[in-house]
């Protein structure tokens, strides 16, 4: 069933789409000579490597596990020999162990890879944990944890996020076009297991083809056609943010500091659902990822499916290299992506795009003083006041940060995008969150004494 009413939220910015690779069919990239697989590719506790230098590994073999609740196992994406297990500094400054594997090109599949067997919800979650699936939309929250909300929280709605609101990125869109049946079958499996009463598939209206394809298929099955609804969302950044999407689809508001499960909703990325279906069919854990390779500095923009752990340099090389000297390479979209300092950095589970910017597009204009125009307040989808958080965080005023709810920021970047003074608002809010965390630990330590 197709919902024609255009759903949206308050705030946000109309960013350019630049979906240059929308019609580019996914290319399969060969196996690189070496892969680097960090033990932290999700939100939560890092894994401990279970392989040693010199071991031979096969595709789908577990190479990192953790007994912590919020974590996901990590698998080898290639077959070959482990050449090193050493710490590497990942983007958040944390130093995590990384398994370096020299590939043999045979891509032999490990014996343990076989379709999972499950009869009920609990067994399914147990099996899903083994697949190493994390939210593929970008945040990387372990899916088996997300699907098991704490007791007492009744979840009746599943929202599938296919809005893909960032410029350039088309990896979700290609999934819809190429594997549309997988997505729906994945959704049906989840509905059968968890008994969701409503499933909303949210897609922005700049992807009419995707909306058409999915609503056609959804209408075919009588059993599910009342449950599964495709929603046409207004194209506005950050439409794909969890809380915005929940509001746009259901009208429910997630209170500050709460999770979607508190309002009876679970949000999953369209790729994650499709992966679940594929995993049930083949048993192959999460070892490869489709990434959109684009940006002014890239020669042949494309969608490429790469083994996880492939160095960025190899992916760019596969796309014909660079048209001009790349000044900045982003992992993720231009709004929320993280700049990389080395092309040896690997593609991770939740990487959805690699954007290479040339000198002109990467230029950061000089920061000026705040002119109090209030545009950041206008566009903030979380109804915050970025200008005040910015000021107080630079002064280290923790009490004021608390008052201005700095912790509710989701770092979408709308405020920095519209700021006429080009202030580094998001970065200072990120700093504000760190200051709040530090103050909380200090207070806890004091209380402990």
């Amino acid at each position: 069933m197709l919902f024609t009413k255009k759903a949206t939220f308050r705030g946000g910015v109309p960013v350019p789409h630049w979906k240059n690779t929308a019609e580019a069919e996914t290319l399969q990239m060969g196996v690189p000579s070496k892969v680097y697989i960090p033990m932290l590719q999700h939100i939560g506790a890092p894994c401990t490597p279970v392989v040693n230098k010199g071991d031979t590994v096969k595709v789908g073999q577990v190479i990192g596990t953790s007994d912590k609740l919020i974590s996901a196992p990590i698998h080898s994406s290639v077959s070959g020999r482990v050449t090193n297990v050493a710490p590497m500094v990942v983007f958040n400054g944390q130093s995590v162990m990384t398994v370096e594997i020299e590939t043999d090109g045979l891509q032999e599949v490990h014996e343990d890879v076989k379709p999972p067997v499950f009869n009920n919800k609990e067994e399914f979650l147990e099996q899903l944990k083994k697949s190493g699936l994390v939210g593929l939309g970008g945040a990387g929250f372990p899916t088996h944890v997300k699907l098991a909300p704490p007791p007492g929280k009744e979840v009746d709605t599943l929202i599938i996020n296919g809005s893909e609101c960032e410029p350039y990125i088309t990896s979700d869109y290609r999934e819809i076009i190429e594997n549309s049946w997988n997505i729906l079958l994945g959704v049906y499996t989840l509905v059968d297991l968890f008994g969701f009463k409503n499933v909303w598939i949210g897609i922005e209206d700049n992807k009419p083809e995707a909306i058409k394809v999915l609503s056609n298929i959804a209408a075919k099955d009588d059993k599910y056609s009342d449950v599964v609804k495709v929603v046409k969302l207004k194209s506005r950044y950050p439409q794909g943010a969890e809380k915005m999407l929940i509001y746009a689809c259901t009208g429910r508001k997630v209170p500050p500091g709460k999770l979607p499960a508190d309002v009876g909703v679970i949000v999953m990325n369209i790729n994650s659902v499709s992966f679940i279906r594929e995993y049930i069919r083949t048993g192959m854990p999460l070892v490869k990822k489709r990434v959109t390779v684009d940006g002014p500095a890239v020669k042949n923009p494309a969608n490429v499916e790469v083994p996880i752990g492939t160095p960025i340099a190899d992916v760019f090389e596969f796309c014909g290299g660079f048209r001009s000297e790349p000044v900045k390479v982003l992992m993720g979209g231009p709004m929320m992506g993280v700049a990389q300092y080395s092309l040896q950095y690997p593609v991770l589970k939740h990487t959805n795009a690699l954007i290479a910017l040339d000198e002109k597009s990467a230029k950061i204009p000089p920061e000026g003083p705040c002119i109090r125009c209030g545009r950041c307040v206008d566009v903030c989808p979380m109804n915050l006041m970025p200008l005040h958080i910015n000021r107080h965080s630079l002064h280290g005023d923790v009490e004021a940060l608390e008052k201005y709810h700095a912790n509710d920021c989701m770092e979408c970047g709308c405020c920095s995008y519209v700021c006429p003074a080009k202030r580094h608002l998001v970065q200072s809010i990120r700093l504000a969150k760190a200051q709040l965390r530090q103050a909380a630990t200090a207070a806890a330590a004091k209380g402990g004494k």
């Binding site: 500094v89 400054g93 130093s95 993280v338 300092y341 630079l394 970065q427 200072s428 700093l431």
Partner: protein, 272 residues
């Protein structure tokens, strides 16, 4: 005409006298007795209101000392001299205070250590350090954006060529910089200690050598030569215990990267 001036002047003057007497009476009647010693102690304190004593400021500390909550040597900024004066006022025996100073355990300035990437963003060490551990190749060392400089009330810290340096003559051991440093590389040591391993890297030796010319590579030579066993090697980093160190200087002679060096500013610090 005369009355127009006289009447209001009399009324106002009368009111003034009335309220004045009233206030004088009330201030005598309800006077809050302050301990004279608190005022005296407050006078000998440095008055920087830095909070290093754990109280909210010098006034609060003076009260706390007199009421016995804080020790007479509780003000690290005032040091031994102030402690003795406070002890005299209160009438107790003062314990000796060892003069301390902050030291930055990193010497990796831009001439000797490598830069990982160009950082564009807000001028704050903590913000820069949250991105891949900061722009310097060594993720343990000084970021060099000066959070410590900004919190120092005494102007004792400067960033020179990308690494923070403490002027020990000006440092009053208030420990604000220790709290402000996101890398936790500023430590408090006695001013009398002359030798320290000026490195905080826990990386293995080969990685340290790649990133920085003056880092501790964890070779352990200093541990072997130290006659008083003041040096321990843990997680690829040697640490000198200033309590045991006799400033003999044997470790500096054998250190291959000169991560151990003598604090020569010490010579001038003693004069001040």
């Amino acid at each position: 005409m005369l009355y127009e001036v006289l009447i209001p002047a009399t009324i106002m003057g009368g009111l003034g006298i009335l309220f004045g007497t009233g206030l004088a009476y009330v201030s005598k009647k309800f006077e809050v007795k302050t301990d004279e010693r608190v005022v005296q102690v407050r006078e000998v304190l440095p008055g920087a209101n830095c909070g290093a004593c754990g109280q909210s400021g010098c006034d609060a500390f003076a009260e706390a000392v007199v009421s016995g909550v804080c020790k007479v040597n509780g003000c690290p900024v005032g040091g031994d001299n102030v402690a003795r004066q406070i002890a005299e006022i209160i009438g107790v025996e003062a314990e000796a205070v060892e003069a301390r100073t902050a030291r930055v355990m990193c010497r990796g300035d831009l001439s000797v250590s490598k830069v990982k990437f160009e950082y564009e963003g807000i001028n704050d060490c903590a913000a820069a350090a949250s991105l891949y551990g900061g722009p310097m190749a060594c993720s343990y060392g000084c970021v060099g954006l000066g959070n410590c400089v900004r919190v120092c009330e005494f102007g004792a810290i400067t960033v020179e060529n990308g690494v923070a340096k403490v002027n020990e003559a000006l440092c009053t051991a208030c420990e604000k910089c220790v709290a402000a440093c996101p890398k936790k590389i500023i430590v408090m040591v006695p001013k009398s200690s002359e030798y320290a391993v000026n490195c905080s890297s826990l990386d293995r030796g080969n990685i340290v050598m790649k990133n920085c010319k003056v880092g501790c590579i964890g070779c352990g030579r200093c541990v072997k030569v130290c006659p008083v066993n003041a040096i321990t090697l843990k997680n690829n980093l040697a640490v000198i215990n200033p309590e045991l160190c006799t400033n003999c200087g044997e470790c500096e002679k054998v250190c291959p990267t000169k991560a151990i060096n003598r604090h020569r500013s010490q010579i001038f610090a003693n004069v001040g």
